[in-house]
Amino acid sequence: MESRKTQLSVGIFVVLGFAALLFLGLRAASSSVSTGEETYQLYAKFDNIGGLKVRSPVKVGGVVVGRVTSITLDGEYYEPLVEFTINKDYDDFSETSSVSILTSGLLGEQYVGLQPGFIDDSMGMLEDGDYITDTKSAIVLEELIGQFLFSQGEG
């Protein structure tokens, strides 16, 4: 009898643990773009990625559609190459789509803004592994200030 009571309470204990894990996973953590869902990869080359990091969000009009999954240097000129993992639900971006590295708020995190291009019969759609050619690099504050001072000096 004693051992059955023990077993029961240990069982309840373990179930409580799982419930806590479930609560934390579903209620407290973001459930978007987990590895369970189907995704596809897109690539883009930038001149400068600023403070972009792996796991930074990719947003379309403020809605998260994917995340940055790797940042490497590519080619003989060492251009930053960024890999995005995009949710399969959003797979109708045309080849004319553009990506830019933006900052949320004045001091916020940097993220990737994806601007869908126009759709036309002559245009193809972006597929898994494609490169987005139209890119705008991150705005680096120091360069902006430098340009501003330079133009002031000329004038």
Binding site: T6, V10, F13, G17, L24, A29
Partner: protein
């Protein structure tokens, strides 16, 4: 001067010898072919003693720490008009730090000291010797089930602690101080990450569980078998295990988030 250097030398040698002995103990307890039919009931019994009996203190402390976090966080965040960040603040501090660390400390105080005292008492009353003379290995019979029970139950306790703590933060932040319900959860969800926060928290608590249980068992197994020896071993368990948790927490945090 020479005396001091000699003391340092002796202390170093003692530490190394202790580390070696405790490794041998752990190896003796966990190596060898498992006998599930015999060990399972012992494991369940110890899960009860180590895990279930620690549940109350974990739930109560979790609730209060969550509530205090929300209260303190609110008074700071409201100055910046950022009270919507209360959710992530409570959740992240619990999941990354307070959940594993405070659970580790409470576990060392509640279960660790009990383990040391129990094993020390078994040693003092010759129960361990008597097992050995009955041709039963006390390491596998007494130490191993307690080790596994501690290793498994502490991460569960840490998860429960964090969950209850977040709920406590919700109670104070949303129900009492009036932070928007939707914002509390959604801002939390957008900043809490499965891998970075929840999984790393679990890894931390697994490491703490391993170390705390190991220290507690070793201190009991290696204590001087007298009442004075048991009481100093129990104290030493709580002190050593707590310091180990705090030190390791720094190292792990540096590795994970640094």
């Amino acid at each position: 001067m020479i005396e001091m250097i000699r003391n340092i030398g002796r202390y170093t040698l003692d530490t190394i010898a202790g580390a070696g002995k405790s490794l041998l103990m752990l190896f003796g307890a966990l190596a060898g072919k498992p006998q599930p039919a015999k060990s399972w009931p012992l494991f369940i019994q110890q899960m009860y003693v180590v895990g279930v009996l620690s549940l109350l203190i974990i739930i109560v402390s979790g609730l209060f720490i969550g509530m205090v976090l929300a209260l303190q966080g609110y008074t700071i965040l409201i100055d910046y008009g950022a009270e919507q960040s209360l959710g992530p603040m409570v959740a992240l501090s619990l999941l990354r730090e307070l959940g594993p660390v405070v659970t580790g400390l409470l576990f060392a105080g509640r279960a660790g000291s009990a383990l040391t005292a129990e094993i020390g008492l078994m040693k003092a009353t010759e129960q361990l010797s008597s097992l050995e003379m009955m041709a039963i290995d006390p390491l596998r019979r007494v130490i191993a089930p307690r080790f596994w029970a501690g290793f498994v139950s502490m991460p569960i306790l840490a998860l429960i602690f964090s969950a209850v703590g977040i709920y406590g933060g919700f109670l104070v932040g949303v129900q009492w101080l009036g932070v928007d319900d939707g914002a509390f959860w959604s801002v939390m969800q957008s900043s809490v990450d499965w891998y970075d926060d929840i999984l790393n928290g679990i890894i931390k608590s697994l490491v703490f569980a391993f170390v705390v249980t190991w220290i507690a068992l070793y201190k009991g197994y290696n204590c001087t078998p007298t009442s004075a020896g048991i009481s100093s071993a129990t104290t030493s368990t709580v002190v050593t295990a707590s310091l180990a948790v705090l030190g390791l927490d720094f190292v792990l945090t540096a590795l994970m988030f640094g």
